[in-house]
């Protein structure tokens, strides 16, 4: 049918129909593109095509100073900018051998966990929307809005937070954080409860998610899965516990683990993680309150960051999984090379295996549950 010589002829067949999903499609979060070959509604072959949101983020870093790159990292996973900022800052700090003051670390933990909740809320909400359940999305997004209010009132930005500086954080938590937090906490729990009531034991929801795009632990590890999607497969790996950073070893929290690695497990793991994040923030804030009010927020770092020549890889557990920054310095004020390891890049690679033999509707559920963020994927 298609006479265009550049079209992928291997997809054309008498029995199968090629359906091009994306890059502009209501449920292709951002600008993803998947070329699927379908037999009726069943997917015979699905091939992701990435790069529609490529902005050359890594290359940009080479012509910016170390501090100037922080706002760029906001644009990776735009659902939760703060872990991106912190991950990058941690990499540069590691390169410089700087020890961040404890108070700054606690503020980072509080903000990162808030961002984790916000990210999971969006992910679950969108998963619901993609499966036709609109209402939970609104319950969750209203609470995410409240979290964004806290961000906004912390440093003036809602989405692109540009949080912290290399060597610490630029500002202390505002005085009435506790009030706001105590107000927010029950509301987040309530929204989660309402979502659970609408979805978790809903027969249609169970039919749509249980056993869909299931992945074994071995395959997931081979494919480089990290984060909630790996834990849903039954592997208890969480950088916050396995390779603690930012004083995470001082907090008590559970790492939820799934069994089948299907859409339902990913959803449940995220639901539980939100609850655990609430607990972490409580503990972190308690430690924070014990700190003297004039404790330093910044390590002693020079005005112009010039790390010694060398290279470093540093990763943290972002809401989506392991988010790593590789930074190479040649001793000048600009990084020599920056390389980002986004969690969803590896998971998107596994998509053809995940959706093979499933139906078109399951493909959408699978992408949503993996939480593929185009900004992070294409960079």
């Amino acid at each position: 049918m298609n006479q265009n010589p550049t079209s992928q002829t291997s997809y054309e067949s008498d029995n199968y129909v090629t359906i091009n999903i994306g890059p502009s499609h209501p449920s292709m979060h951002g600008t993803l593109r998947i070329i699927t070959m379908t037999d009726g509604e069943t997917i015979v072959k699905a091939e992701p095509d990435i790069g529609y949101l490529h902005r050359g983020v890594e290359k940009l870093g080479e012509s910016l100073t170390y501090h100037q790159f922080i706002p760029i990292t906001d644009r990776l996973n735009y659902c939760s900018a703060i872990p991106n900022n912190v991950s990058y800052e941690m990499a540069v700090e590691k390169l410089m051998g700087v020890e961040v003051p404890e108070k700054a670390q606690l503020i980072r933990v509080i903000m990162m966990e808030l961002a984790r909740i916000a990210d999971h809320q969006v992910c679950i909400g969108i998963l619901g929307v993609d499966l036709g359940a609109f209402t939970p999305f609104f319950y969750l997004i209203i609470q995410r809005e409240e979290i964004y209010e806290i961000f906004e009132w912390f440093n003036g930005a809602r989405l692109t937070n540009t949080f912290g500086r290399i060597g610490g954080v630029d500002a202390d938590l505002p005085d009435d954080f506790e009030e706001r937090w105590e107000e927010l906490k029950p509301n987040v729990r309530k929204a989660n409860d309402e979502t659970e009531k609408l979805l978790t034991h809903n027969r249609i929801w169970m039919d749509r998610t249980i056993g869909i795009s299931a992945f074994s632990a071995e395959d997931a590890l081979n494919r480089g899965f990290t984060g909630p999607c790996l834990r849903a497969c039954g592997v208890k790996r969480d950088l916050r516990i396995d390779e603690p950073y930012c004083m995470y070893d001082k907090f008590k929290f559970e790492v939820p683990v799934g069994k089948n690695g299907d859409v339902f497990d990913r959803y449940i793991v995220r639901m539980i993680e939100m609850e655990e994040s609430l607990k972490i923030i409580d503990q972190a804030y308690k430690l924070y309150k014990e700190m003297p009010s004039d404790a330093p927020l910044m390590a002693r770092v020079p005005k112009v960051i010039k790390p010694p020549a060398g290279e470093v890889y540093s990763a943290l557990e972002s809401p989506n999984g392991e988010l790593g920054f590789f930074v190479k310095s040649n001793g000048s004020a600009n990084p020599y090379r920056i390389r980002i390891r986004p969690p969803c890049y590896m998971m998107f690679q596994a998509l053809p295996e995940l959706v093979k033999g499933e139906m078109v509707a399951d493909l959408i559920a699978c992408i949503s549950s993996l939480n593929i963020i185009a900004g992070e994927l294409d960079r």
Partner: protein, 346 residues
């Protein structure tokens, strides 16, 4: 001559009425969504946003009409017409009240009391599927074709349980006419239960309502237009008023279905336990019966909105499975039980 005049007045009135409800329904749907989802919903155009449907209508009418270059032109144009015309005509046999006596002339509140009543609704309702198929096929878009394909399978499959559920109603009331069935639902049986279809056919009612949701392409059966999967399904390539006809026809369908549910299962214009007709004058009873009927219809219209914003969507094969493995055997069982009961008691 008088009869003709009355018939024409009734046709015009009911047409305008159904149109009006459908228009208001688009507003109720969105405000209802707002209510359920903790947000205001459209509230800018007019008081409580009541003029929103008007604004949408103006927008749809003034949009440029585009026919995609590769579309099969005749089918593409025919699609929305074939969808909306049956939607409008199906209400003809559904009553909207008891009767009114004007100048010694008895006027029944129903456009036409055909003795094949809901066979007409089934037949006309099935016509609607052509609009969806032709629209999907004529668009020459893979998403549209998928949407058309889904709706074909779904609407054809769910017509079977729908028809079987109705058959059981025929067993009970011994007639196809919706007016006769409505009349038969007066009073009580077993001493305390209202003589309504739902109490005589509880299983049949559940089957009917599930199948009716599927027929109307509403959540959880809105696969033909599942926007997260196939963009907008069969009306992906449509714009301006052609799209409007599709969207609008859907709401008209809802009105018809709600009317049928009320007429068959919820006692039509009867109040439970009280026969208001005996106390009221012929004209006021006509108006009151219309109001009662309309209130019941409004409840079912609201239920469509309620369900839509509560449930997720089925998958294509799950819908088919539910239809063929769940509803049809149950409907046959229902018929069997009903027949057995009637055989033993009458």
């Amino acid at each position: 001559m008088d009869d003709w005049l009355i018939a024409i007045i009734k046709v015009v009135c009911i047409w305008v009425w159904v149109l009006l409800i459908a228009v208001v329904m688009t507003w109720v749907e969105r405000r209802g969504a707002g209510l359920i989802q903790d947000r205001p919903g459209p509230n800018r155009a007019g008081p409580w946003g009541l003029f929103q449907p008007l604004a949408d209508g103006i927008k749809l009418f003034t949009k440029e009409e585009i026919i995609p270059t590769k579309a099969r032109k005749i089918l593409y144009i025919l699609g929305p017409l074939l969808f909306s015309l049956p939607a409008f005509s199906a209400y003809a046999v559904v009553p909207f009240g008891d009767k009114i006596i004007l100048g010694g002339k008895e006027i029944i509140l129903q456009v036409s009391d055909v003795n094949i009543g809901f066979l007409f609704i089934l037949a006309i309702g099935s016509m609607g599927v052509y609009g969806v198929i032709l629209g999907g096929w004529g668009s020459t878009n893979k998403y549209s074709i998928l949407g058309g394909l889904r709706s074909t399978a779904q609407m054809v499959s769910y017509e079977v349980p729908l028809g079987l559920a109705l058959l059981a109603i025929v067993f009970v009331y011994g007639t196809f006419s919706l007016r006769d069935i409505s009349l038969a639902q007066q009073g009580t049986f077993l001493g305390f239960l209202p003589n309504w279809g739902i109490f005589k056919q509880p299983l049949g009612f559940i089957l009917f309502i599930v199948a009716a949701y599927a027929e109307a392409n509403r959540v959880p059966f809105d696969l033909p237009e599942a926007e997260s999967e196939i963009v907008s399904g069969y009306h992906t390539e449509y714009g301006s008023m052609r799209l409007g006809l599709y969207l609008f026809g859907e709401y008209v369908n809802l009105v018809t279905i709600s009317g049928v549910i009320v007429a068959l299962y919820f006692g039509s214009w009867h109040m439970p336990y009280i026969d208001l007709g005996a106390y009221l004058g012929p004209i006021s009873w006509g108006i009151v019966s219309f109001c009662i009927f309309f209130l019941k219809v409004s409840f079912f219209l609201w239920m469509f909105v309620w369900v839509r914003w509560t449930l997720p969507r089925f998958r294509y094969d799950q819908v088919m499975g539910l239809g063929w493995r769940g509803l049809i055997p149950l409907a046959l069982f229902n018929i069997f039980i009903t027949a057995l009961f009637i055989q033993l008691t009458v």
